[in-house]
């Protein structure tokens, strides 16, 4: 009973422009794989998908979202971008084993520069693994060299991070503490908030174009540079594009600046 993305899309621009792969005026199209929307979809995660789709449509590029469901076959090779959100603990336990079966495929695609965005619960499962506070261990798929351990402190509040995409704003809400291996690059330095854990003062992880983060908000609408980084990576990988047409992001910048000024 998850919301179907086509309900969010007016489709007028994209579908009219997208005729056919073999057609004369072939228009570009990006296929987004949405991991486990039934289980992992919380705190406005759908907003990230809406943002990716609309920013493609506004540029006259087609967008399609395909849902990855537990136990259902899925061909990641037909996709250009992977997104996965957070969820309740129960949801995370439901998807962990299924994700593990798809782990090799996804890890290879990450190394092949496919852009990915993983929020909170799926960020944790894209690392080495997650040891829950009750001792249970969920094995991860090793896209990120990071370990997560369940903690008793809930890290809640507004968060701002300095990153290659500029100053990022979001809202974090997690008790899992993620510790990056020495070799693993973070998204950036925490200016306000907790980030990966209470002591390291860094947030998230980046491997090639795969980004893992604790930032809800949702993260993409108020941080359009991050959204466009993912989209350009997808278009470069598929079509060899080197730049994106610009979008007026004045409203997003104003909203981000307000969020930046809110207390933790």
């Amino acid at each position: 009973m998850s919301v179907q993305l086509n309900e969010f899309s007016d489709n007028s621009a994209s579908q009219a422009a997208y005729v056919d792969r073999r057609g004369d005026h072939m228009t570009k199209k990006i296929v987004i794989a949405h991991l486990y929307p039934s289980e992992m979809n919380i705190y406005g995660d759908m907003g990230n998908v809406i943002t990716l789709v609309k920013r493609l449509e506004w540029r006259g590029i087609g967008a399609e979202v395909r849902n990855v469901e537990v136990g259902q076959p899925f061909n990641f090779d037909e996709c250009d971008l992977i997104f996965g959100g957070g969820g309740q603990d129960s949801g995370q336990q439901l998807v962990a084993a299924d994700l593990l079966r798809r782990g090799n495929t996804i890890r290879q695609l990450a190394h092949d520069t496919m852009p990915m965005l993983l929020i909170c619960g799926l960020y944790q499962l894209f690392g080495h693994g997650f040891t829950l506070s009750d001792g249970q261990e969920l094995q991860g798929i090793e896209v990120f060299a990071a370990n997560t351990v369940g903690g008793s402190v809930r890290m809640i509040g507004n968060i701002t991070v300095d990153s290659p995409f500029g100053r990022l704003v979001g809202f974090e809400n997690h008790s899992g503490q993620t510790i990056l291996d020495r070799s693993q690059e973070a998204i950036g330095k925490v200016i306000k908030g907790f980030g990966n854990n209470p002591t390291s003062h860094v947030e998230g992880a980046i491997t090639f174009n795969a980004i893992g983060t604790y930032m809800h908000g949702p993260v993409l609408p108020k941080n359009p540079a991050m959204a466009d980084h993912l989209l350009l990576a997808a278009l470069t990988r598929k079509y060899g594009d080197s730049k994106l047409s610009t979008i007026d992001d004045g409203l997003a910048r104003s909203a981000a600046s307000v969020a930046n000024a809110r207390p933790q």
Binding site: M1, S38, I42, Q88, N173, P218
Partner: protein
Amino acid sequence: MKTTAILLSTKMAARLSRLFGRGGGQALPGLIAEKLDPHLAGTLARGLKHGVILVTGTNGKTTTTKLIAAMLTANGEHVLTNQTGSNLKRGITSSLITGTSVTGKLPYTVGLFEVDEASLRRVAPDLMPKQIVVLNLFRDQLDRYGELDTTAALIGEGIASTDAELYLNADDPLVANLAKYASDPTRVNFFGIEGLPVSGAHGHTTVADSDRCPNCKSKLTFDRVFYGHIGHYRCPNGDFARPRPIVAITNVAKADIHGSHFTVAISGKRSDMVFPLPGTYNLYNALATLSLAHGLGIATPLSATTLAHTEAAFGRVEKVNIWGREIYLLLIKNPAGFSQVIETFLAQGANKHILMAINDLAADGRDVSWLWDVKIETLTSTKPVIVTTGTRGLDMSLRLHYAGIEAENRSDLSVALETFINSIPSGATAYVLPTYTALIQIRKLMSKLTHMNKI
């Protein structure tokens, strides 16, 4: 310290607090009492002849408490209830202190309190309620509670500490599952809706908050969805299904923004009801009330009269008239509630004037991510005229922008309200959708322009 001494000192504190203008002094006595005697509420509540009734759940607590209070009053009870928003332990303790005279007399027959979901387990063991009503469980201010499963477990803990008669929403799987915490299976009473007119039955306006079998975690099959995850469900493995309600709405003859005409079956006996609060969500508040009334042995005609004369609770479908414009005040606090407001008031018609006031203070929920879990796109084709405001008004504007709606933003709430009222054509109807603290601010501003009922 003796109870009388504590009573005196806490009452004095409340008076001083009011005298020096530090708020209404509503929660202060409770706060002090908690330090002096954490069980004071329980001690005082034992003076209530017919005991204590508690109402909890994410949406509808205030409205349902108001409905039940009216019904009990009509039945001859003297009802002690808590003030809007004071639904934590200290607020309830305060109500009991304020209601008790210095000589220790409590001139009420029954205590009826709405309780915050996470506070039930702190309140219930002391008050030993005779009845507990649970309405629904949606994602709400999760930054405070953690997760929905956790919230359900907290309520369960509260229930398990009592031997109360339970009144549970059969159509919400998480609430129905709370029956397992009952002290005795015969103490569980379910209420639910059997069917709605087609117009109200396509409730897929939000992401479902809870669509898993509580036993085997399989995805529940829904034969009917009324809104969110509220409907007729069953586990495909057969180990969990919607229980059969004893009090059920069997038919809704009419439903618009002025309310509903519906038929309710109470233990199989049908009665027609007129209920002036609109929306499917309010039908459940009426059902909870009827279900409790049935349990208490209150005659159905009396409950029917009470429902027919209902007025909305503070900010829940409150209607005000300012300069010849009719303005609805509709509190929004989570995706399920926001979606219901859209479906009930805004999805039909065109060019509606709407003010959306989004604050991110503690009482609103500090995380505004939830705005993206509402299918705002339902409004796009109606071309609404929207002003946004509040500490996170721009987050609302951005959400609307991604739904193809360009709103006007005014960061100052009083400026926004003025801009908004001026933009409404004379004689037209308009809608104000505030989060909790924005509602308080807006009512205050409006009370300078028109008469507002006391909260």
